[in-house]
Structure formats: structure tokens, C-alpha cells
């Protein structure tokens, strides 16, 4: 590939260094957790919908709200916060491990 000649290459899908490999793995995990829960739940809600009766996910209440409404309106924003916290913890740990391996760490 002409574009990627030379020593300096950055490609999300071909991480080279050990750090970047770890980083990309954490990123992919976070994105999968983000996408599957958010859009997967909507799809599930649609698929379980029975005409005339609605989905069973809407049939019981949780924190006084119909479960599906609670999940989307309240759980998902909380889930995003959880993903961000876990992501930061993992990256912090990765950076620490990396800095031990290498002198002059200055993050």
C-alpha cells in the first residue's frame, strides 16, 4: 500500500506497539458495550413487541416506571457513565504498567 510506506504508521486496526494493542483492545470493548446495550435493547424491544399487547419488557414496572422506559431513560445514561469509568480505569492501569516498563514516562 503506497499510502502506508515509511516507518511511521498509525492504524486503528493494526496497532503496532504493545501499548497501542492494549489501548485498542480496551477501546473495542468499550465500544461494543456501548453499541450492543444501547441499540441491542431497542432492537429487542421491537422484536418482542406483540401487536395489541406490547412487549413484555414494557409489561412490568421498575422504580415505578415501565421497565423499558426506565432502562432507556435512566439506566442507559448511567451505563454510559459506567463504561467511561471502566475505560478510564483500564487506560490508567495500562499507562502505569507501560510507565514501569519505560523510563521518562510523562503522561
Amino acid at each position: 500500500m503506497r499510502n502506508e510506506s515509511g516507518p511511521y504508521r498509525v492504524n486503528l486496526f493494526r496497532p503496532k506497539s504493545g501499548y497501542m494493542k492494549g489501548e485498542v483492545a480496551i477501546m473495542l470493548a468499550a465500544l461494543v458495550g456501548w453499541g450492543v446495550v444501547t441499540f441491542g435493547f431497542q432492537l429487542l424491544l421491537r422484536l418482542t413487541d406483540v401487536p395489541g399487547r406490547g412487549s413484555w419488557l414494557a409489561g412490568f414496572s421498575f422504580f415505578n416506571l415501565p421497565f423499558h422506559f426506565w432502562f432507556t431513560a435512566q439506566m442507559l445514561p448511567l451505563w454510559f457513565i459506567i463504561i467511561c469509568v471502566l475505560f478510564n480505569l483500564c487506560i490508567d492501569r495500562l499507562s502505569k504498567r507501560q510507565s514501569r516498563r519505560r523510563d521518562g514516562f510523562n503522561d
Binding site: N3, E4, V10, R46, F63, N64, I91
Partner: protein, 509 residues
């Protein structure tokens, strides 16, 4: 709105809150003058989070969100999810790397990364359009609140509000008022939640956390009146819901004034953690917004006011204030709510206009037209640009084309189709070339406005690229175009690839 005439107490409160920000800003400046200039000082991660949240909060969050949920129920949650989930993308894909890249504005990043004045110009123009569209939504919110406060019609309200806003910006600029973003966030959250707690208490629901209390109100609403706000996908189907939600997420991670937040944080770790706090502070507002919508519906239903759909659409952006009034809240409390809405819109517009004016004076004039321009000349150009942009926004807001949140969504779609792919590829693929990114951004502009441009010719366009939700199909297409063009054009210089590899992804062994 429900009642005409001037509202003296709320008016006093709105102006008192605006004055409070000026006084606090002056005190703050006296204390911190040696530290920072315009961008505000950061005190750690929580302070950084408050800055992210107050920078984000706008009339769309404060007034628009509840209005949408009032109208569309579950379907409108696409906005709640889009505007919170976008921060995950921002953190995971961009925040740390952007901080390491160290450029000040979105056009600056694109200009430097792709070493191209043309790419800088295009991204500056896109930033300006985003500023204009987003500000129109804010001006609508300002117009609504001022029309209600003074008891005049919307047109006069928006003109008066714009005049007060410009006066406020000029005054703050002349006095050199520093933005105290922690105070801003504190005022916003108190003015939003406190009236809601009182409302819940008066209606007899769990008032300590109305975020949970409104559930029972929702049950009562559907049992007593058969209005089921929670019915899934009642107003738009799964595809549109997903497209809208995804578009708002990409837009969140691509809005220039949101991206600018990361350049001024002291280090990468704090930048990452302040996103978490910022998201938490934003979620506090969004967990509460549905409560206004549900209480609004319930009060209306109990009072026997059933609005026909057209009238409901016309007043949806007033829902927050209207609910407070119909719920019989004391005048001072309604005034606080109005003050929160006005400050959210004011500071949001001020930030947006500043970003837009910087694109004109720095990215276009200084970097492309006249590199010898003095600082003074650039400053006066920026001031002139702010005024011209504000006038353009006012023109757009006189006849608002939709609901506050819907107008804002178009700005998000544009950002998601142009700036986001450029940043994503620019950071994560060193093979992205200037030609690639230019073609990608131009395609993104066409895609964003495909529905008004080609919708009547090609009905398919209306389905796959709806105006407020074009990025689900649009952004991947833009990314593919950028990659394809990059493959067939000369690669970026070794210098910039080395910078990317060593500085931006600088953990090489």
C-alpha cells in the same frame, strides 16, 4: 403561554441571576487574573467536568428536551441517549489523543493534521454553519422566555432577547468578565431541579428525587386518562429512532465547541476523567427532564385542557415553564426556572459565537487571507464577526423552522457527517490524506442537506438521510469516501505521520 402581561418577580430574578454572573466573574477575575484568559481556569477533574457540562447545557437541554418528551414520549428518548452516549465516543475515540495533538480549534486541528489551507477553510466554514444553526435553536429559547417575561409576542421577544444578549456579551467583554463555569453549572442544576421538586411535592409524588417520583405520575396518567407516554416507537419507528440517536451521538463527538474543551485541560489523565464528571453532571439534568414532560401532561389532563396536536407542537418548547405555571408554583420559583433557561441559552450562544468568530478571524482571515494581521486587527474582526453572526442567527430565529431540539439536531447531523469523520480518521489512520478529507467533508455537507436538496427528486433520500438523522448512513459513507480517495492520492508528509505516531500515539516502546 397561559397568561399575558409582565411578570415582575420573574423578571427581577432573571436579571439578578445575569448580574450575579457578571459580579462573580469580576471577583473571579481579580483572584485569578494571572492564570488564564478567556477559557476559564480548571481546578481538577470535577471542575473540568462542571466546565464540560456548563459548556454543553443549552436551551435544547433545558427547554427542548422536556418539550420533545411531552410530544413524542418514548421516541424522544433518542435525544436523551444521543446526547449522553456521544460522550462515550468522545472519550473512547478522541479525548486523550486530541489533548496530545494540542490544537486549539477544530479547523486548526484539521488544517495542521492535513497540512492543507483548503481543508482548514472548509472546516472553518462548516464550523460557522454549525454555530449558526445551533444558535438559531438557542435564540428560539431566548425568544420564548423573554416573550413570556415581558408579555409580548414571540417576534418581539426574540429581538429583545437578542439585543439583551448582545449587550451582555459586549458588557462582559469590556469588563473582562471571566467565565465561572462551576457557578454556571450550579445555577443551572439548582434552577432546573428545585422547581421540579416543589412541583412533585405539590402533585403528591415522591419529591426528594423527582427523577424517580415521576414514575407514579406516569402510571396515573395512563390509568386515569389513557395517555401512555411510554409506548415504544409510537411516533417514529426503530430505524428512525436508531438513526436519530446515532446521529446525535456522532454530532456530540464532533461539535467544534465541545471538542475545544479538551485542549485546555492540564494533562491527558485529567482530560479523560473530567469527561466522566461532565457526563454525570449532564445526566443529572437529563434524568430529570422527562419529569417535566410527564407532570405537564398530567396537570393538563386533570385540568381538562387537551391540546390538538398542532397546538401541542406549537407550544412544546414552552412545556417546562408552562408546567411550572399550571402547577401553581410561586412566581419566584418560576422566575428561577426562567433564569436557568436564559443563562443556559446565553452562555451557550456566547460560546458558540466565540467559536464561530474565531473561525472567521483566525482560521480564515489570519491563516489564509492576511498572515501579517496584527492582534488588534484580528480582535476587531472577531468582534465584527460576532455581531454579523448574531444578526444572521436572529434572522433565522424570527421564523424558527422547528422545535428547539430539532433545529439543534441538524447542527449535530452536520458535525457528525463532517467534523467527526475527519477527526476520527485524522487521528486513527495516518494514511488519511488532505484530498481524502476534503472530499469526505464536502460529501458530508451534501449528505446532511440531502433531504431539502434532493428529497423531492429522490424519495429514497428522505428515508436514509432524514434531515435530523442523516449520520447513521451518512457518516460511514463519508468515512468510506475519505478512505477511498486517500488510497489514490499522495500520502501525508513524513513529518506529520511521525508526529502522529510519536506524539499523539506516543507510547511506543
Amino acid at each position: 403561554m397561559t397568561d399575558a402581561g409582565q411578570k415582575l418577580i420573574p423578571m427581577v430574578i432573571v436579571f439578578a441571576v445575569l448580574l450575579l454572573f457578571v459580579v462573580a466573574g469580576l471577583l473571579y477575575k481579580a483572584r485569578e487574573s494571572s492564570e488564564y484568559g478567556v477559557s476559564g481556569r480548571y481546578s481538577g477533574r470535577i471542575g473540568g467536568g462542571a466546565a464540560i457540562a456548563s459548556n454543553w447545557m443549552s436551551a435544547a437541554s433545558f427547554l427542548g428536551m422536556a418539550g420533545l418528551i411531552y410530544l413524542y414520549g418514548y421516541s424522544a428518548l433518542a435525544y436523551v441517549i444521543g446526547w449522553t452516549g456521544g460522550y462515550v465516543l468522545l472519550l473512547v475515540l478522541l479525548a486523550g489523543q486530541l489533548r496530545r495533538f494540542g490544537k486549539y480549534t477544530a479547523p486548526d486541528f484539521i488544517g495542521e493534521r492535513f497540512e492543507s489551507p483548503a481543508a482548514r477553510l472548509i472546516s472553518a466554514a462548516i464550523s460557522i454553519v454549525i454555530t449558526l444553526v445551533y444558535s438559531v435553536a438557542q435564540f428560539k429559547g431566548i425568544g420564548i422566555v423573554f416573550a413570556w417575561l415581558i408579555g409580548i409576542n414571540y417576534t418581539n421577544g426574540v429581538i429583545l432577547g437578542a439585543a439583551i444578549l448582545m449587550g451582555y456579551i459586549v458588557l462582559s467583554g469590556t469588563l473582562g468578565v471571566a467565565r465561572s463555569q462551576k457557578l454556571q453549572y450550579f445555577v443551572l442544576i439548582v434552577t432546573f431541579i428545585l422547581p421540579l421538586m416543589v412541583l412533585a411535592y405539590r402533585l403528591g409524588y415522591f419529591w426528594v428525587m423527582p427523577q424517580f417520583g415521576y414514575g407514579r405520575a406516569m402510571t396515573d396518567l395512563s390509568r386515569e386518562f389513557g395517555t401512555d407516554i411510554s409506548a415504544p416507537f409510537a411516533h417514529f419507528g426503530l430505524f428512525h429512532w436508531t438513526a436519530l440517536c446515532f446521529t446525535l451521538m456522532l454530532g456530540t463527538a464532533g461539535l467544534p465547541h465541545v471538542l475545544s474543551r479538551f485542549y485546555t485541560v492540564s494533562n491527558v489523565r485529567d482530560a479523560r476523567w473530567s469527561v466522566v464528571w461532565g457526563l454525570f453532571f449532564i445526566a443529572l439534568i437529563y434524568w430529570s427532564a422527562p419529569a417535566y414532560a410527564v407532570f405537564g401532561r398530567l396537570i393538563e389532563a386533570r385540568a381538562g385542557i387537551a391540546l390538538p396536536p398542532a397546538a401541542a407542537y406549537a407550544m412544546a418548547d414552552n412545556v417546562v415553564l408552562r408546567t411550572a405555571l399550571l402547577g401553581g408554583l410561586p412566581q419566584w420559583l418560576v422566575g428561577m426556572l426562567a433564569a436557568g433557561a436564559v443563562s443556559a441559552a446565553f452562555f451557550n450562544v456566547a460560546g458558540l459565537l466565540m467559536t464561530g468568530a474565531a473561525s472567521v478571524s483566525y482560521d480564515i482571515y489570519y491563516r489564509l487571507v492576511n498572515p501579517q494581521a496584527s492582534e488588534g486587527r484580528r480582535m476587531s474582526l472577531a468582534k465584527g464577526a460576532t455581531l454579523v453572526l448574531a444578526l444572521l442567527v436572529l434572522l433565522g430565529a424570527l421564523n424558527p423552522p422547528g422545535l428547539i431540539a430539532e433545529i439543534a439536531a441538524v447542527a449535530f447531523a452536520l458535525a457528525g457527517n463532517t467534523i467527526f469523520p475527519a477527526f476520527l480518521l485524522g487521528i486513527w489512520w495516518s494514511g488519511t490524506t488532505r484530498h481524502g478529507v476534503i472530499c469526505g467533508m464536502l460529501a458530508g455537507v451534501l449528505i446532511t442537506f440531502a433531504q431539502p436538496l434532493f428529497g423531492s427528486l429522490l424519495p429514497l433520500v428522505n428515508t436514509i438521510f432524514p434531515l435530523t438523522a442523516s449520520a447513521l448512513c451518512g457518516a460511514p459513507l463519508v468515512i468510506l469516501i475519505t478512505i477511498a480517495v486517500s488510497r489514490f492520492t499522495p500520502p501525508p508528509s513524513e513529518e506529520i505521520r511521525r508526529f502522529l505516531a510519536e506524539e499523539v500515539h506516543g507510547h511506543l516502546e
